[in-house]
């Protein structure tokens, strides 16, 4: 552990007013609950809290097409019926509804991730956290899966101004398709996504065979999983793969998307991870000791989202939080136990040992084919082969 790690945490109070609409599972109110819980544990006294600047359209256009950004800025609920062609073109209206202050919401969460990346680049902090960010489905020219602007791509582009290589890790239950797609042709970003795949689960991409193309071939890692994966299986796989990635890739910075819908009991998810299991991934990435940008993502059972990201804020601050949640304005949400850790439930793990083994093997084979990063000592390839024989 580095001495005196500096952690920057980004939060804007205006997110509390953001409302996607009745029954829409994405509730930015969960960010208020998270922030409240973080403060109730006094964690703000171990980090610096910033309000991000609201991202400008020109910053968003570093990745997104200018006409898409402009449309997002212009459109509002009262006029959307007049632009039905564009609504279809930009995939707005169903999963991604148009609501009041939609663009402001995008500015806040994108601004947070961009500012986080800039603070890291300027070495003003070692770890930067933006729980409002992590909207990984947004594409260059369209919205997708509740995501409008891809703050992760914008943050990574910022980091790439200072680092030759950036590693992106995604533990949301959904495939990180927007980020993978953006960097599919380049080796300057390695995207690693652990997600549910199959049964036509959204978004439908993320097969282990999708590895990138052109210069980006073998720089996209997909770990497709089935329902019910538990802490033990997930962590073993996660650690093995990330270790191998670090060995082969040597990134200058890491971006970690911590979607909480991979937790047991999530409204839209189907994994069986406990908060401890989820947070163990965060701890593991933290101890790699690289500049680290941490974002939120999915998470549709807001109490569990608040719990999870509070525990993970603690983990990033090296503070082990007690289970008893201190009294706060949102205490009722944590009934009946008022405890921080949510255990995994009973759920059949459909990921057999042989299945996980074969996924790991394929991923390791793909990783072995990439060139070792220049400047990194060349390892003999044979040394890595024992991984093939480690049984689950």
């Amino acid at each position: 552990m580095r001495s005196k790690e500096r952690i920057s945490y980004f939060y804007d109070g205006d997110v509390g007013n953001v409302y996607f609409g009745p029954n829409h599972p994405m509730k930015p109110h969960r960010l208020c609950m998270t922030h409240h819980l973080v403060l109730s544990y006094e964690l703000h006294n171990k980090m610096e809290v910033y309000r991000p600047h609201k991202a400008y359209p020109v910053e968003m256009a570093q990745f997104h097409s200018p006409d898409y950004v402009e449309f997002l800025q212009r459109i509002n609920p009262d006029t959307q019926n007049l632009f039905s062609n564009e609504m279809v073109k930009y995939n707005l209206g169903e999963d991604c509804p148009v609501f009041e202050n939609l663009f402001e919401f995008c500015q806040i969460y994108a601004g947070g991730t961009i500012d986080a990346a800039r603070r890291l680049n300027n070495k003003l902090c070692d770890i930067a956290i933006n729980w409002a960010g992590g909207l990984h489905h947004a594409k260059k020219c369209e919205a997708s899966g509740f995501c409008y602007i891809n703050d992760l791509v914008l943050g990574i582009l910022e980091l790439l101004k200072h680092h030759a290589r950036v590693l992106y890790i995604d533990i949301d239950v959904h495939h990180g398709d927007g980020v993978e797609e953006a960097f599919y042709f380049t080796d300057r970003v390695m995207t690693v996504s652990f997600h549910k795949y199959g049964d036509l689960f959204f978004p439908g991409t993320g097969d282990v065979k999708d590895v990138g193309e052109k210069e980006g071939k073998n720089y996209a890692i997909n770990v497709p999983l089935k329902n019910g994966i538990d802490d033990g299986s997930f962590l073993r796989l996660f650690k093995m793969i990330i270790m191998k990635v670090m060995d082969c890739y040597a990134p200058g910075a890491i971006v970690l998307q911590c979607g909480a819908d991979s937790l047991a009991g999530d409204r839209l998810g189907c994994f069986n991870l406990s908060i401890d299991g989820h947070a163990a991934c965060v701890r593991f990435v933290k101890q790699l000791n690289l500049p680290l940008l941490v974002t939120g993502g999915g998470g549709y059972t807001k109490e569990n989202v608040a719990r999870c990201w509070t525990v993970e804020t603690g983990a990033l601050l090296d503070v082990e939080l007690p289970n008893e949640i201190p009294e706060n304005d949102y205490s009722k949400y944590f009934a009946p136990d008022y405890s921080l850790k949510s255990p995994s439930g009973y759920m059949e793990n459909l990921n057999s040992k042989s299945y996980l083994n074969s996924i790991r093997q394929q991923v390791c084979e793909n990783l072995s084919s990439i060139q070792h990063a220049p400047g990194v000592q060349m390892h003999e390839v044979r040394r890595l082969q024992p991984f093939h024989y480690i049984q689950y």
Partner: protein, 411 residues
Amino acid sequence: MNILNEKEEEKMGFKEKESNFRASPMESDLKVFLSGVTDKMKKDPKMDVSENQCVVKGEDSISLKRKRECYSSMLNWIVKVAKDPCNPAIGSLPERHKWKHYGDELHWKQILLVREATLLKRNVDASSQQSIWQKKQKMHPSIYDVQSGSERPRFSQRLITAKNSSQKPQERFGSDSSSSNSQTDKDYDSSADSVGFWFNARRQKRVPIGPLCQVDLQEYNGMDYQSDKSKWLGTQIWPLDKKEPIRSLIERDPIGKGRQESCGCPFPSSSECVKFHIREKRIKLKLELGSAFYKWEFDGMGEEVALSWTKEDEKRFTDIVESNRLSLDKYFWDELFKIFPSKGRAALVSYYFNVFLFRRRGEQNRNSTSKIDSDDEESEFGPIGNRFGQMADISPGSIFRSPKKSHLNSR
């Protein structure tokens, strides 16, 4: 035929409801190609002739009837596998080199033989398939062209991708570089790989590629990072600016302190005790945070929000939501905007989350012994709507369509 036990069948019920939209086109496709290959199968010398086999040499009415029954049982089996390829009751496919040791009475074996026969037939028809696809296209991609006309919209990319996929039924749908042909023989996904493959392959999504998808990235030139945008690093809210005077000295709790189990209250853990400690904490936080308390809009959080509402208004709010909650004609947000024109959307949303839903959660805590789900608005407030209540048509590619665990309500 009963390949799944009763419990599995029950569980299937939830998923069947969800997956009906994709089962129907699949079933009709199945019927078409199964009926189309009967001739092929009859001619195939590999097909055994026996009482229990699907294909028999004679054409008498009894054998035809048995053939039909066989096909229908095979059809049912395929549909069940396609709906839930991960179901462990289905069992796993043996390794490819062992297939020849298994008899043709097994459904999976029959499917593989049919597929082999069909693929031979389909390749011949590939060119005609392409033209059928084009004829069926109702909307030309050019209607989505932007005024500038500089780039083709992504929709055309998808249509092209789908068109290509119909021409290559055998291959995994990825680009050349990602096909990794040595992998295809590995039975890593036994339930989906072979039998489910044919159906999954038609729906497997490719990673979209093109100028409208990938980022334009410059090569790293290793120059020192120049930051002339120091104003865009965020505004520090905490710790407070040293210039801000500290109004009062308060005892700060240590970092990471949890809830104390014992307190000085006469009736610990009673609702009065809890309310007291929540209020106490709030006051402490307010004193400690200073200006940050307002910058983070903590003054607009929690049940305190109700303090700016009259009892009358609160009752009206509750009545409107309750009376319109399951209505298909009226949406409570429309009514709320009408009745409270001066409050504004932000105030209404704030009240909804901080007071209304919060109190509802309190009631759930008191009344419900089973798992409480404060995010389950659907059972209380009706189906999903966008934009404060307009009904949304759920398309097949929607994130809402994702099948979930069977114990949650399916959408």
